[in-house]
Symmetry: C2
């Protein structure tokens, strides 16, 4: 009887802590996704690894958003067709469906719209939507899969990007130590991590890095208090809106799995996480962190690494004699 | 009772057919591999997908021997560092441990020796063994894994290539329709496939394409009866032995999963399997196949596609501040 009562009390306490932290903390739990169409997920996964969506037949979505590497390529900016050097750091695909818009400058409203971009970008996959579709349509197995999944005989870019976007939604990383702590498990974080999180809030980081992504919910100027020195010519949102006040305004990136997604910032110029923390405090908040403060915040950030997706490689169906040859 | 007797008779017949075909046919069954060290397999898999073994940190073993694409890249010749175009067609990694030597010209005696090649090849991963080792040694998780797996504090290229070679041994493709037929299941092949296999033997293809790989057991001259026209400058075994009679002599490639491993030949010049079959008969055996004959042999070759490996992507451990930056 004593045991039962103890368990009940602990459950209530645990639930209480959960409810309290969930409602009070600015960073929210990442939940795994459920209810997706299994056929779309499987087709989308196949397309995710499909280098025949690129002109050279060598670059797939996974080349720059590598599921083995935190959903990024760990390069300052990506390498594309014929070794083209891309203009901006590749954002992680993990949890990316939770971003309020896609791309650093928010030019795509969702993952489906985003997925159409790289295929036709001459610095990335360097194909066209029509050529990508022609390639898929020339492969009997893809014709069958699109028929079974979308009921279409003629594939369009809409089904391709929809399937990719559905697959991307599976790439959530739940169950990070920080999420376990949010759910009431006090032992999930070290003392330094809890202190780091308190500092993270007190210094004002959560003004931008909030929500389940600890980011991804708003735009902000890079260099809000002090200018950010960079060789990268990207002008941010101004390229979309034409407004001068949108110059160097970018989507606030997620801090989920941040220890895996170096190098940091839209120009990929900073490789050390603690250095990135100190720079952010300085440039965005006008605060000089002590060594100990930046160490603790960095420790807290490491608690945002969740369970990484377990993805089994698909087997891509062979081309037919009608399939266009690679342009290398 | 009748049922039991019938089952027994079928078993005996089945076993008889199995024993008979196994001993009499020149192509042998591919068996899955067992008894490998699980830690070495797991570490080897991680290294297989590790682009930090390349100078640019973007090219891994899987780039040219893609497990999602029949163990190849489906290019005439591979694309390497800074978009270098390689000299020869990338052979499949599937079942590759069953080759009697490695590389087209047999310059490596086994998979471990082979694995050391691409890392340091300036047209491929363009790194050095020392830089690759330095990279691994700079990553705490790799230090721990090599310690646990090989008992070493200081990683050398030998452990790296050993682990990769052990993982590669898992990439067998058993249970092809042809193997089921070899085991006595007459329904595993179509009539055309059985006829194609008879033609394959009668025309003399099995002189070279025999054993479990249907190849991979000997060298042979490309253009044995008639010269093979190619722009590819590779002179084959002559580069190794210096002997004029080894000019254009290459390892006979496997025909396992051949429908997936286009384009064909060491120069990757032929994309259509049936055309490759006709050319081989002509150039190697001095025989002109009819359209029907080449169709049937091609149908037989499609029965050599086995169960493809189910490989879950690893999660690569993050670099440290001591890890060298990519050279792009």
């Amino acid at each position: 009887m004593k045991t039962i009562i103890a368990v009940c009390v602990m459950s209530v306490l645990s639930f209480g802590a959960y409810a309290e932290r969930q409602s009070q903390e600015p960073i929210k739990i990442i939940e795994p996704i459920t209810g997706l169409d299994a056929k779309k997920v499987e087709l989308g996964k196949t397309l995710w690894f499909e280098p025949r969506l690129s002109a050279s037949n060598t670059i797939s979505c996974n080349s720059c958003h590598n599921i083995a590497k935190g959903g990024v390529d760990n390069l300052p900016t990506s390498i594309g067709h014929k070794w083209a050097i891309g203009p901006i750091n590749s954002p992680t695909v993990f949890n990316s469906d939770l971003n309020f818009v896609q791309f650093w400058n928010g030019r795509a409203k969702d993952l489906q719209e985003q997925a159409a971009g790289p295929i036709a970008n001459p610095l990335e996959m360097a194909f066209t939507h029509q050529l990508a579709i022609d390639t898929l349509q020339s492969i009997p197995q893809y014709r069958q899969w699109f028929k079974e999944t979308y009921g279409v005989d003629t594939i369009t870019i809409d089904e391709v990007t929809d399937a990719i976007a559905v697959f991307e939604q599976t790439l959530r990383t739940p169950n990070a130590p920080f999420d376990q702590w949010l759910k009431g498990d006090d032992s999930a974080l070290t003392v330094a991590q809890v202190e780091g999180y308190q500092l993270f809030k007190e210094k004002g980081c959560t003004a931008c890095h909030a929500g389940p992504l600890a980011g991804g919910q708003m735009y902000q100027k890079m260099g809000l208090v002090k200018p950010f020195a960079t060789d990268n010519p990207d002008i941010g949102r101004k390229a979309i809106t034409g407004n001068e006040f949108d110059k160097f305004v970018f989507k606030v990136p997620t801090l989920r799995n941040i220890e895996l997604t170096y190098p940091y910032f839209h120009d990929g110029s900073v490789w050390d996480l603690q250095e990135a923390v100190s720079m952010m405090a300085d440039l965005q908040l006008g605060q000089k962190l002590t060594q100990e403060e930046s160490e603790k915040i960095t420790e807290f950030l490491r608690s945002l690494t969740g369970d990484l997706p377990q993805v089994t490689l698909p087997h891509l169906p062979p081309s037919s004699n009608e399939t266009a040859r690679p342009n290398i």
